[in-house]
Each structure stands twice: as structure tokens, then as C-alpha cells.
Point group: C2
Chain length 178, copies 2
């Protein structure tokens, strides 16, 4: 899937609707992936993101040590990957290999993007002060990408216990707010 | 719309999918409402929530002073209310009156719930340490409610610039993760 650069000022539009995200990290040349659903935008431009991951996750310590990750946005077509990645640990398997995913180099972090995802935000950790209390990392996006395809990409939203809701109808309103 | 108590352990299921939320606050007996889309779960039980609102919002100082709010979840049926509430300020109008909404008393906070919303989480602010830097309040849910209706409630997700996507297809998987 060919990607083009997305303005950092528009990166919030990827996360504000609340999609499931696949987070990539890398340490000593070994890349890992985790499924994440607890994140929020904090500011628009540069995009600041707060993300929460259990300190029991293999990715937690990698992110703490390397201070870099990529937020990859999967469409509904990747639901089996989303569930498979969420049910396994990078401590035991190579998830790129297990789930047949393609590593694409990033440009501002030393972490691969997932080729099969339709959008990416390359991120650096800028604040760890909430990591000990809340397992929250504050990230700043340094580069964003989106597919060149004009087809609408429907994302997944996790409702708990393995139940997902997929994007449905789109409604355009005359809201004055960003 | 009749509501029943929802276990606090299940409150995360209301927010994890990333819906638009209507936040109620109250000061000196005057209630206000704002539309919010930047929030994330931080912990399951008790439910801890991180929410970000602009310090330009009328509700920001009320929440800072009173330390209480209710997160009300609107279904797609309330889209005009969601947009109207987002485009106006409580500094100038009474939003309950303007948008014909019903105040329902809460039980653990001194802030009304919005009767027309299908679910609510009554919350107290437990941490303001990120309020100055990131406009983030950390909330703890003290009571949760959900409609008694068995009908599926489709929520709204904001994609930016007044574009919303509505819940579509539901997919049940065998994910082992909460």
C-alpha cells in the first residue's frame, strides 16, 4: 500500500475518532508490535498524544528504553492481525514474521512501520512523568503518513472483551470547532 | 430514558471505543455542558480516565474549581445537540435550556446528568498535575449508569472539522484480552 506524507497538523484526525492502533517499537534491531486502544490526543500541532499501556506488556520497557515508536492505524481488513497481535507477546515470538507483516523504514525514528496499515504516526517520547503512576507515555509525532488510495478506510474500535465496532455512516456537520 | 446502575468494572466499555462525550459540570447551582473528544481510559477498576480540554473552554475552570463532572454518552440521535453544545459557550447561554436537555441528579457528585444520554459516568478529579502542562484532568469514576433499553446505542466518533463517523458493524472475536 503506497503512502504519502500527511501534514502533522492533520495527524490528530487519525486518532481523534478512537481507533485501535498497532504500536511498533524496536530494540537492538528486533521489532515488536502491540495492540493499543487507550490513547488520546493532547495537542494538535505538533501532535501530542497520551498513550497508556500495561507495564506487563513486552513493549512497555522497550518504549521506556528507546523513547521511540510508530502508531500504525489498521483498517477492518486487519482484524485477525489486531486480535492475533493482542493475544501474543513479543517476548516469545517475532510478530512481523508470525502475522506476515511487512517492515517499512521510518524517517524520524529507528522503528519500522507496518506496511499493511493505511496510516502511521512516527513518534518520540517527550514526557515520562506519568509512566510510573499511570503507565502513560506522552508522545510527539515527528512524521505522519497516509495511504494514497482514495478508498475510505474503515477503522476498528474496541468495546472490550474482544468485541469491536467498525466505522459506519459518515455525517458532515457545520461544526465550527476543529 | 430509564437508566440502571452499571458496574464500575464495566465503565471502561463505554469509553474505550472512543465516542464523543458530553461533559457536565456545575458551579453555584448553574450547570454547564461541553462536547469532548480527547479522553482515554487509564485504568479499569476503579475506572481512571484522562481527559483533555482546552483551557479556553468555559468548563475548564469550573472543573478545576469544583473537581467534579459527569461524562454523558450521547447516541447518534443527539448529533445536533453534540454540534450545538460544541459551537456555543456556557459563559453566554444556559445549554440545558437552549438545547432542551433534562437535568437528572447524580448520586456521588453534585453535577446533573443529561437525561437524553444513554449512559453516564459520575467522576471526581483525582490528579491535576497534568492540568497546567497538558490541560489534562485525571478522573476517577464513582458511579456509572446505562439505559435499561436493550436497543443497541450507536455512538459518534469525531474525525475533525465537524465530520463524524457513526458505529457500524459489530464483530465478536476470541480475543483473550480485556
Amino acid at each position: 500500500m503506497k503512502k504519502k506524507l500527511l501534514s502533522l497538523a492533520k495527524a490528530y484526525q487519525l486518532l481523534e475518532p478512537g481507533p485501535v492502533v498497532l504500536v511498533t517499537t524496536s530494540r537492538n534491531g528486533k521489532a515488536n508490535i502491540m495492540t493499543m486502544t487507550w490513547q488520546t490526543m493532547i495537542d494538535f500541532n505538533p501532535p501530542i498524544i497520551g498513550c497508556v499501556m500495561s507495564d506487563q506488556n513486552y513493549s512497555f520497557n522497550i518504549l521506556r528504553e528507546t523513547q521511540e515508536c510508530v502508531l500504525n492505524i489498521p483498517s477492518v481488513l486487519l482484524i485477525d492481525t489486531v486480535v492475533g497481535v493482542g493475544n501474543t507477546t513479543g517476548a516469545k515470538i517475532d510478530k512481523f514474521s508470525r502475522f506476515g507483516l511487512t517492515q517499512i523504514p521510518s524517517t524520524c525514528v529507528n522503528v519500522p512501520r507496518i506496511g499493511e496499515c493505511f496510516a502511521h504516526i512516527e513518534c518520540k517520547v517527550i514526557d515520562m512523568s506519568m509512566a510510573a503512576t499511570y503507565n502513560m507515555f506522552v508522545l510527539q509525532g515527528c512524521k505522519a503518513w497516509i495511504t494514497e488510495s482514495k478508498r475510505r478506510q474503515r477503522t476498528l474500535h474496541h468495546c472490550g472483551n474482544g468485541v469491536f465496532v467498525v466505522d459506519g455512516e459518515v455525517i458532515h456537520t457545520d461544526s465550527k470547532k476543529k
